[in-house]
């Protein structure tokens, strides 16, 4: 009986060997893909096992972490989440993350390769893994001014430091509080579903400052004026333009009129001051679609990958036929812009024509406060010549300072302010409430421009007059600029 016994022994050996092979396949070959499978709850358990690093504004953390009772140990908290959501985005145990919380997740969660050595060291010494911090360029006072200025109104504010491109304020209303769904409980799920677009027509999770494009309305006349000056269509800002009023749109039977002012043959300065449609429609036509596109692109239009690092939606100045191109020239054609884009226009004008790349992450720091990365200001383009920039500044300052100007509400004592209002009509036959726009910059007595800002308020008043831009959006822009200037003192 021993021969079959030996064979059975071999058979049992094969059984054990098969198990060993299977285990090697499972725990060696497949180990990584199983361990990092997103459905494997351990991935998130590890992720939330240590407090997350913080996002810092003006040296103070605007985020935090709180211990919970579930197996996801820590969840994210925000101080004044609704105000900061357009900057930080959300970070939820159940619903993932977006914006800075997602893009800088490596640093915040401590998983970034640059923290690897330190993490390994911590593992050996038994210290808990820590996340690094993200220092933003934002200005808390400006953010607060913008958020309070918008209040219950639907809209957005973007403010930039013209000389560097640092984003100082980025507000979108109505907003949402990411703390409400940072966890993974049923209450979190309810809060999450409440702010989804399908359940809330106001779409609070839309970051209007970066991700929504609007018809730029009259604020775009600054770009058209720049194109006209750069291409020599007018000799100077105070030269009369040969513009009929009303202006017949080329290749069309429509006639373009003005809301107010005496715009026939008006100078560029006067036309910008009272926002003549006729003058800028004609200028756009004179410059031509190709050159208009070139000028708009120098200001940052038609750029699909503008990363702040959160990617901004693409602002568009399209190829158009002549009548559409004319309407584009007054911001009412098929061109569209994000609030950030229009802030970039104002900032390039204030910065002597140099357009800086907007960014909101200043530094990344390791948990021990070593600096891992510092963002260097970067010039995107020379949008206009220094001379044209001076001319545009003069005109925009007239808009604010002249008693007839539309931007009087943005005046700040002791500070030179240049601005441009806009009222963008939209909807079928312009039936919907217009968007109120205001773009501006402030200059100090030493000639430096600390801030450029763009404000859009979606539900402009029924008054279609150009004044709405100045009336609704202007004071908000003023408060934001004032907040920045005050915080510099």
């Amino acid at each position: 009986m021993n021969k079959p016994l030996r064979r059975i022994a071999i058979f049992c050996g094969i059984l054990v060997l098969t198990l060993l092979l299977r285990d090697n396949y499972l725990q060696y070959v497949k180990a990584d893909s199983l361990a990092s499978d997103t459905k494997n709850r351990r991935v998130n358990i590890t992720r939330y096992s240590t407090p997350r690093g913080n996002i810092i504004v003006d040296g103070k953390a605007i985020t935090g972490s709180v211990e919970t009772s579930g197996d996801y140990k820590y969840k994210r908290t925000w101080s004044n989440g609704a105000m900061w959501a357009p900057v930080t985005g959300y970070s939820s145990q159940a619903f993932g993350a977006n914006q800075l919380e997602r893009l800088e997740d490596g640093i915040l969660s401590g998983n970034d390769d640059r923290l690897f050595f330190r993490n390994t060291l911590d593992m050996i010494t038994g210290k808990e893994k820590e996340g690094g911090s993200v220092l933003t360029t934002l200005n808390a006072a400006a953010q607060k001014a913008a958020f309070q200025g918008l209040g219950d109104k639907k809209g957005a504010v973007a403010a930039i430091e013209p000389s560097t491109g640092k984003i100082l304020a980025l507000v979108s209303t109505p907003s949402y509080d990411p703390s409400k769904f940072a966890g993974s409980s049923d209450a979190d799920a309810q809060a999450w579903s409440k702010v989804q677009k399908k359940n809330d027509p106001d779409d609070p999770m839309l970051n209007r400052a970066l991700r929504e494009t609007y018809p730029p309305g009259s604020t775009f006349k600054v770009v058209t004026a720049a194109a006209a000056l750069e291409n020599g269509e007018v000799a100077g800002v105070d030269e009369k333009t040969k513009t009929p009023d009303p202006f017949p749109l080329p290749q069309s039977s429509s006639k373009l009129t003005n809301e107010h002012g005496d715009c026939e043959n008006a100078t560029l300065r006067y036309a910008l001051m009272v926002s003549c449609n006729t003058v800028f429609a004609k200028m756009a036509d004179n410059v031509g679609n190709k050159k208009m596109i070139e000028q708009a692109e120098k200001f940052g239009f038609n750029e699909a990958e503008l990363d702040t690092p959160v990617r901004a939606a693409e602002s568009i100045f399209p190829q158009d036929n002549r009548p559409q191109n004319s309407l584009d020239g007054i911001g009412q054609g098929s061109n569209r812009a994000t609030p950030l884009q229009m802030a970039m226009v104002a900032s390039a004008v204030a910065n002597d024509g140099k357009l800086m790349k907007p960014y909101m992450v200043d530094q990344l720091k390791a948990p021990n406060l070593d600096t891992l990365e510092t963002t260097q200001p970067q010039q995107l383009s020379q949008a206009v010549s220094s001379k044209t920039a001076q001319a545009l500044q003069e005109m925009m300052e007239t808009v604010v300072n002249d008693p007839q100007g539309t931007g009087g509400k943005a005046k700040i004592n002791g500070v030179v302010v240049g601005g441009k209002t806009g009222t963008a009509q939209h909807g079928l036959n312009n039936s919907e409430k217009p968007y109120a726009w205001f773009i501006s910059y402030a200059k100090l007595s030493d000639g430096s421009a600390p801030v450029a800002v763009a404000v859009v308020v979606e539900d402009g008043a029924a008054d279609r007059g150009d004044i709405t831009g100045g009336g609704l959006a202007g004071p908000i822009a003023r408060d934001v600029m004032k907040a920045v200037i005050d915080s510099k003192k």
Binding site: M1, N2, K3, P4, L5, R6, R7, I8, A9, F11, C12, G13, L15, V16, T18, L19, L20, R22, D23, N24, L26, Q27, Y28, K30, A31, D32, S33, L34, A35, D37, K39, N40, R41, R42, I45, D71
Partner: protein, 480 residues
Amino acid sequence: MSSTTNSPTHHTSTIGSIGTPSRRNTELALLVFAVVIPVFAYANVGLAINDQVPSGLLSYGLGLGLLAGVAHLVVRKFAPYADPLLLPVATLLNGLGLVAIWRLDQSRLLKQIHQAGTAAPRQLLYTALGIALFVVVLIFLKDHRVLQRYTYISMVGAVLLLLLPLVPGLGQNIYGAKIWISVAGFSIQPGEFAKIVLAIFFAGYLMVKRDALALASRRVLGLYLPRGRDLGPIIVVWLISILILVFETDLGTSLLFFGMFVIMLYVATERTSWIVFGLLMSAVGAVGVASFESHVQQRVQAWLDPMREYKLSQSGAPGIHSEQAMQALWAFGSGGTLGTGWGQGHSELIRFAANSDFILATFGEELGLAGIMALLLLYGLIVERGVRTALAARDPFGKLLAIGLSGAFALQVFVVAGGVMGLIPLTGMTMPFLAYGGSSVIANWALIGILIRISDTARRPAPAPASNPDAEMTQVVRPS
């Protein structure tokens, strides 16, 4: 030969001193390791989970040490020539199992789901009962051949045990498999005991019938085909395992019993044709039943695509869908090569049966590939010592019983570990010694007890040379 077997005990005492060493001291030394390793593991879990050495460390160490000590002393007294590895390896596995169960007891998640919070003390109690049965076996079963007398009683007993889960009011249906019964609040898996009783029956039956089965056969196509009437028993056993599959819907139990029978039949008859027959019949049976039994089909589907099954269970799809299979695979994968370390994994995510059927996943996650390979080799060692006992056994009944028990043990390890690791469809059986469950621990200690008894008989030094009646007259006086 007959003259030598009449009083073996008398002779051993006279030449014991110059025969095979008893190896009891080796066993004792190994037992020290088998107790100390789980004690360290226990301390490790406490340090990892609560940052302190668990308060029960001393009593746990003493308890396990005491049980191992008693077992050792009984072996030393009643089976001095037994294999020195079986007891230490079983003790080590049992000790590590206790640690893993205690570790899962600490999980908040599992405490919410069922009574797992108190599993470890109960398992320690079961272990004590198991060792008690082990001691009883060694003390009262002086010679394993006694069991031969109970061949047909064993058959009746085994059939009864197998049928118990089907008795209304007694049987329990847990996750579709009906292999448990419930008595006074305790869940018992009669299959675990049936395994041993059946092995006794098969060994007794085959010992008697093996010549008829082996010799009276025709040769067809190079295979020895048995006569029709000799086919009877294998067909009966096959039918029984098919019935188990149909009514208890457990592939593992069915496979285990049929596989054990085929192994023993092959060893008894030395005819390869039985293996071919066995494989054919089990394939026919498994495929046939799977074609209409939805529970088996579902197990097979869960095996083929555990991710789909996981998603179904999460989405609350109708029917019994379990996330366990996928959760177990994640546990193994997350463990990787070296594991997370005791107490630092998340195998509690397996939830139901995490500390019983799926306990291997906890080892996989916390001890890693290295730990699982060590455990599998430990199981391999038990099987190897069992087969070696069968080889060394001098009587056919002992050979058959030893190979039947070790073969069943190997098959059970394969079916359970293979199921948990996704190699074969999952079944409702448990890892011997590691898993939580009284029936399993108690029955397996009895199994080790029987193997130790057979190996003691096998390794006992050969009786003295035949005392020649002629020599009796001139016998010299031996120095005492």
